[in-house]
């Protein structure tokens, strides 16, 4: 499933990030890599962007970026 489909409070392990996007490099650099566990902490009004927790810090991503990340729900 996609990261954007996780509900608030749910966690998932990243299995892949859409390769063709320039976003992938940025996400990789900031720690969103294959295998990392992310938890959806909260969503903004209108359900976009999404705030996730990973590697001990908090990150907001737009839905279009979250849709490029495939996770396996934990």
């Amino acid at each position: 499933m996609l990261l954007s489909e996780l509900k608030v409070g749910e966690s998932g392990r990243v299995t892949s990030i859409n390769n063709q996007s320039e976003i992938k490099i940025r996400l990789n650099n900031i720690g969103v890599t294959e295998g990392v566990v992310v938890t959806v902490v909260r969503v903004a009004p209108f359900s976009d962007p999404v705030e996730i927790k990973l590697r001990d810090f908090y990150l907001a991503l737009r839905k279009n970026a979250a849709q490029k990340i495939t996770v396996e729900k934990l």
Binding site: T33, A44, P45
Partner: protein
């Protein structure tokens, strides 16, 4: 012999606080990702032979954003003698990623583990020997905020020859280099630090449940911003009035004093009218802007700004802006120059450009003063008329945002919106004070200089003409000639006379000058307008037309392109003209006179001009791919060439 020490680290790792502590030269520090976008240098105050350079906060050296490119270029071209790699101890895993990248540079390095006080307070054990062993350099736990171990850090940095050992990535899991680096860090980080949620983090989560609440988040933000404006208008406005009166009496006293020494009349007029009164205008804005900036600094330093960007992003995106556009817009209500500089945190190029185009629509401090005077002089001091300018600014931002978004140049999707939500911290008074100090220097320096120059220039233009010195005979002055040439342009807007034209013109140099000019060139400003619609059209034109010279210069610097600056000025002129025209036409419709036909012709001409302008922008790449944004001259999709 002197050495250069460069501070490198992630945004929000406390790097700039450390820089301030080391050098004593204060500059902006912030919890808002990427506040330091320029390289800043200073001298270590305890050892003058040590130069300290503060580099922009970044997550990686991957050379994608402007900041990353700038830092990499700096490190390659003029390598510092020592790198102090500042890492946030409460967020070690991600911070050490940059450390891995730095190992490829082969420059002597020390790792400074910041927030040591936070670790101690929460009983988190840090094994800095282990960290030192993993990377092969010294690791010093420090606290920039509490001044812990900072001297020790500097003495180690001054003498170290140790270089980072590049992690052996061959055996690590992962497809890309960055994944392997993270795998390497994951294996070691548990031996270095025992992870635990800090108290500050728990508090942040509780506070964020309220501040970014799906229903209450936005109303809370509106309350905060209303309070900010209320305080700055009330406190700042009251002090400003006193200052304004002081300067006015100073001008009177000087006038009497100079007359008693038989100083020539023109010199008295230059000193009293042009210099003292215009200085007074600038200084009287200062308290208002100071209070505004102090409160804005608190919002930024505390980390609330990131929350606001988070809750407003979706809403702003529908106008082609970003959640990160909001802070520049709010700052623009104080001063457009600072607002434009605040756009640097927006990573998406088209959203950043859009913010630069639209932020000047906000009524800045100087425009607010102009509207105050107009509503006082023409609308019986109606507060609604003055306040309506704010709404007009906001409506125009939304409407023109929608229009601009239709252009491919403003709808590119490059650059991910990546917004770190840093731990909320109580801003230290010291930090806020130094941010303010920067702002005062900025405002009085830039704005003050420009108002001063404009006032003197205006005085010269008013008192000199083709016949030489024409004091008291304004119809022979250069100013009259300029206004006369321009007045036809403004005729459709309802203020086609030389006095109003000249006022608009000086407004493009500095908005403060609009009222000054109008009062100077006309004994009865009411005679310049034929109805209240044309007054309102004039106000709208002042609101939307290109901002003062200082912000045009700032826009040039931020857009980094003369071509884009030209488009921006053209766009703002067209926006101002069409809105003012619409307002005036509404007035004419109400009066049903023959000007209607004339105006219709003019509308068609304007529409044609706009169309041509649009064509000119379109030429700049079709937007079906991002090749043009990457500086290539052949479109990937259509294979067409275009001029770059």
């Amino acid at each position: 012999m002197s050495i250069t020490v460069a501070l490198i680290g992630n945004p929000n790792c406390g790097k700039t606080t450390l820089f301030n502590l080391l050098t004593g030269t204060y500059q902006k520090t912030g919890n808002w990702t990427g506040v330091t976008t320029e390289k800043k240098a200073g001298v270590y105050r305890k050892d003058k032979r040590v130069n300290v350079v503060d580099l922009p906060g970044l997550y990686s050296l991957n050379a994608k954003s402007d900041d990353e490119r700038a830092v990499l270029a700096y490190l390659k071209e003029t390598p510092p003698d020592v790198i102090v790699n500042v890492v946030d101890g409460t967020n070690l895993e991600r911070n050490l990623y940059l450390t891995c990248e730095l190992s490829e540079l082969n420059i002597p390095t020390v790792i400074a583990v910041n927030m040591y006080d936070d670790l101690n307070k929460n009983g988190i054990k840090l094994n800095s020997e282990k960290l030192a062993a993993v990377f092969g350099v010294d690791a010093v736990p420090v606290s920039a905020l509490k001044n812990l171990n900072v001297d020790k850090l500097m003495s180690v940095a001054a003498s170290t020859k140790k270089r980072l050992t590049a992690p052996d990535l061959k055996k690590e899991k992962g497809n890309t280099k960055s994944e392997k680096r993270y795998a390497f860090i994951e294996r070691h980080v548990n031996g270095i630090i025992k992870k635990k949620q800090t108290r500050a983090e728990k508090f942040t989560q509780k506070a964020d449940d309220v501040l970014t609440h799906r229903v209450f988040g936005i109303p809370i933000f509106f309350c905060v911003i209303t309070l900010v404006y209320f305080l700055s208008m009330k406190i700042g406005g009251a002090v400003g009035e006193v200052i304004s009166e002081l300067f006015s009496s100073l001008a009177d006293i000087t006038d009497v004093f100079l007359k008693s020494y038989a100083v020539p009349e023109w010199l008295i007029s230059l000193v009293c009218n042009a210099i003292i009164k215009s200085t007074g205008t600038v200084v009287s804005f200062l308290p208002q802007i100071l209070v505004l900036f102090a409160l804005m600094a608190i919002i930024e330093e505390s980390g609330y700004a990131s929350r606001v960007a988070f809750i407003m992003d979706r809403f702003f995106r529908s106008f082609g802006l970003s959640g990160k556009s909001l802070i520049p817009m709010i700052v623009s209500c104080g001063c457009t120059v600072s607002g434009l500089m605040a756009t640097r945190t927006i990573e998406n190029k088209s959203e950043r450009r859009m913010t630069i185009f639209l932020a000047p629509f906000m009524p800045c401090g100087a425009k607010t003063a102009v509207f105050g005077w107009f509503s006082y002089s023409f609308f019986n001091g109606s507060a609604i008329v003055a306040a309506s300018m704010y709404f007009l600014g906001i409506i125009c931002t939304a409407v023109f945002g929608k229009i601009l978004k239709r252009f491919k140049a403003f709808s590119s999707n490059d650059g991910a919106f990546i917004l770190e939500m840093p731990t909320l911290r109580l801003p230290s008074l010291k930090d806020v004070f130094f941010v303010l100090w920067e702002k005062i220097k900025d405002f009085t320096g830039k704005a003050g200089m420009i108002v001063f120059i404009v006032s003197v220039a205006l005085w010269i233009l008013q008192n000199f003409g083709f016949a030489g010195y024409v004091y008291g005979n304004v119809e022979k002055s250069f100013l009259f000639a300029t206004g006369n040439a321009l007045k036809f342009f403004f005729y459709p807007l309802g203020f086609g006379n030389w006095q109003a034209s000249v006022s608009v013109l000086t407004g493009i140099l500095a908005k403060e000058a609009v009222v000054e000019t109008m009062r100077f060139v006309s004994a009865d400003p009411a005679s310049l307008f034929y109805n209240s619609f044309s007054v309102y059209a004039f106000m709208a034109f002042v609101l939307l037309s290109p901002p003062c010279a200082a912000s045009i210069a700032a826009a040039k610097q931020e857009l980094k392109s003369g071509k884009w600056l030209f488009f921006m000025l053209g766009f703002q002129l067209i926006a101002a003209y069409s809105v003012a025209l619409a307002i005036n036409l509404t007035g004419i419709l109400f009066e049903r006179n023959f000007g209607l036909i004339l105006s219709a012709i003019i509308v068609i001409i304007i529409a044609l001009m706009t169309f041509i302008f649009i064509k000119a922008v379109r030429k700049d790449g079709c937007g079906s791919c991002t090749a043009c944004n990457r500086g290539r001259n052949r479109c990937q999709k259509k294979g067409k060439r275009f001029t770059t």
